[in-house]
């Protein structure tokens, strides 16, 4: 009996502590079982425990032999202003963004009480059979308090089994899919993204000595279906090149046409164009010509004046 109590105490202290230490919790929600070739969604959920949050920096590790990162559902997460949109970095998914004004929970009329916030929804493709573990290797979540105070939280990982066929899933030992509060278990079939990204903001900012910035072009695309994968830029007749926002456009004497192309993860794209002014503006040219003509007129006047003076 004593042994049993000690075992329970040990288990409680060492395994239960991570989830009991903090009320707030970061976790993943997805279907437990998927078929080979399936495209499925994984929600990054955060139970704020009533705190307002406004920034998150998250790193998720997953088995790259079994799963492929195929994008994210931009419309279904609160992190709309990306500092680093979901992407692969050192074999892990990295996402960093903010929520201006902050958020504390989500609302679902079909469910009682406050629901966890969906920070982001990531899309995966199952490419090999086996059990894929998804877990957080880094997470920093900040309160909306004007100070950037970190909100301590616990983390929960998720395992997804990839089977060859639907029959194999039925024969699996787990008869019921695990339902996590606040999230409906994902449907394994995610419709293909055939829509181009939305028209996006493309802005030019002049260099500033005070802020120590060069002339930059910024762009923020939006794609509801699979999220923005990359941006490419074409300046005048030059070739397309992969760029990130904000982009140091540099200075030029003449104005330039800059086109930015936003690609989503399905390969659809949308262009947006802006004309970046050159330092040689019309006014500068007019002033230059006027001054040249004026100098020439003065020179001619002095020449004639001196000639007449010599003659006289």
């Amino acid at each position: 009996m004593k042994k049993l109590l000690l075992t329970i105490l040990f288990t409680f202290l060492f395994f239960g502590s991570s989830s009991l230490a903090y009320g707030a919790e970061l976790y993943l929600s997805s279907p437990d079982n998927v078929r080979l070739g399936d495209t499925f969604e994984v929600s990054v959920l955060f139970n704020t425990e009533g705190e307002f949050i406004n920034a998150a920096d998250i790193e998720i590790s997953f088995n790259q032999k079994l799963l492929t990162f195929s994008g994210y559902k931009e419309s279904e997460g609160v992190l709309g202003f990306w500092i680093e949109r979901p992407h692969i970095e050192n074999g892990k998914i990295r996402l960093t963004g903010v929520i201006p004004g902050g958020v504390t929970s989500s609302y679902n009329p079909n469910k009682k009480g406050q629901q966890p916030v969906s920070l982001a929804k990531i899309i995966f493709n199952a490419k090999s059979t086996g059990v894929a573990n998804l877990y957080f290797t880094k997470s920093q979540i900040l309160k909306n308090d004007g100070l950037g105070t970190e909100l301590n939280h616990s983390k929960r990982s998720k395992a997804v089994s990839v089977y060859k066929t639907a029959e194999e899933i039925k024969e699996d030992i787990k008869p019921e899919p695990q339902v996590i509060e606040g999230e409906t278990p994902g449907v394994t079939e995610v419709p293909a993204d055939t829509e181009s990204p939305d028209r996006f903001v493309l802005e030019y900012f002049e260099s500033s000595l005070f802020l120590r910035i060069p002339s930059i072009v910024t762009f923020y695309g939006y794609d509801a279906g699979s999220g923005i994968d990359r941006y490419e830029m074409k300046i005048g007749n030059k070739d397309w090149r992969v760029v990130e926002s904000p982009y140091n456009i540099g200075e030029s004497l003449f104005k330039r046409q800059v086109t930015v192309r936003a690609y989503d993860h399905a390969g659809n794209f949308k262009d947006s164009t802006i004309v970046v002014p050159g330092s040689l503006t019309l006014w500068v040219i007019v002033i230059f010509i006027t001054l040249t003509l004026f100098a020439f007129a003065v020179y001619e006047f002095l020449l004639i004046y001196h000639r007449r003076k010599r003659k006289g």
């Binding site: 920034a55 419309s75 997460g77 609160v78 202003f81 902050g102 009329p109 909306n144 004007g146 802020l211």
Partner: protein, 290 residues
């Protein structure tokens, strides 16, 4: 004929059975979220062998802002709807949607003096054919100051809008912390001259809130000076380095340029740790005006 009546009864039954009334309390803001079939629109003509009628999917936010103020609804960084509040501050804004998913909406209000409220964000789960209604939205009061630096012993004047005849608390926090009580008038206006006596010099922040609500107005910084010191020219919003009284995408872009870079301009580095990181972005997000 029987088919028509059956459809009608079916629709009424569905409408009646799918009304939910869960209550949420977010920082003393009592929100009610309901979902009802359709949005009160007239059903399309039935009969024939056409596709079944699907009522429109829509979202509605209702609650209280400021008398005759404006309320704006934002989705994907775009303003999608704008309504005027009544002379009591009540508002209701509805937007027809196309989709069935978790949608993030932002709301902000602008009072009659043109001062913007804090931004309220709501992630809402929508279902096709339902009107999802989030009621009980309550904007905290707006706030402005007559200046952003003052001398010890001065009176600092604070002005703003709230709901008519409501008890408010104005808080000053810094080296000293004090709370002042004020009641808004019938037009929702409150105006208070705060005596800055018995305060130590230094940086302070000031905000208002309804007595019964935890959610506060925007937090404004101000500097309290000892008599001999000349006030510095400063923006009233931390990080507003172009002095346009706004924190928006432009400021976000400039901050992004300096992300993870060392020794950024002091004005951008709002927490003064000599690097632009997530904390600076969080502070910008807090003071965001759009």
């Amino acid at each position: 004929m029987l088919n028509k009546s059956f459809k009608k009864v079916f629709l009424i039954l569905i409408s009646a059975s799918f009304v939910f009334f869960p209550l949420f309390s977010v920082a003393d803001e009592v929100l009610t979220v309901t979902a009802t079939v359709g949005s009160g629109g007239t059903p399309s003509p039935s009969g024939g062998g056409g596709a079944p009628y699907i009522p429109p999917t829509s979202i509605r936010f209702s609650g209280q802002a400021y008398p005759n103020g404006k309320v704006l609804l934002i989705k994907n960084k775009n303003i999608i709807a704008e309504v005027l509040a009544s002379n009591l501050g009540d508002f209701s804004v509805t937007f027809e949607e196309q989709i069935d998913r978790n949608v993030v909406y932002s709301l902000y209000a602008v009072d009659s003096a043109g001062v913007q409220s804090v931004i309220l964000n709501y992630q809402v789960y929508l279902s096709t054919g339902y009107l999802t209604h989030l009621s009980g939205v309550l904007f905290p009061p707006t706030i402005t100051l007559d200046r952003y630096s003052a001398y010890i012993g001065d009176d600092l004047s604070s002005f703003g809008f709230a709901l008519p005849e409501r008890a408010l608390e104005l808080k000053i926090e810094g080296k000293d912390t004090k709370t002042f009580n004020v009641i808004s008038n019938k037009g929702g206006v409150y105006n208070i001259a705060v005596p800055l006596l018995n305060f130590k010099s230094g940086q302070y922040k000031i905000y208002t809130k309804y007595k019964e609500q935890a959610l506060t107005s925007k937090v404004l910084p101000f500097e309290l000076l000892a008599e001999e010191k000349v006030p510095e020219v400063k923006s009233k919003i931390p990080g507003d380095c172009n002095f346009d009284d706004r924190i928006n995408l432009k400021d976000f872009s400039i901050l992004s340029f300096w992300y993870k870079k060392k020794n950024p301009p002091a004005c951008l580095d709002v927490n003064h740790d000599k690097i632009i990181n997530l904390i600076d972005f969080s502070i910008y997000a807090y003071y965001w005006t759009g």
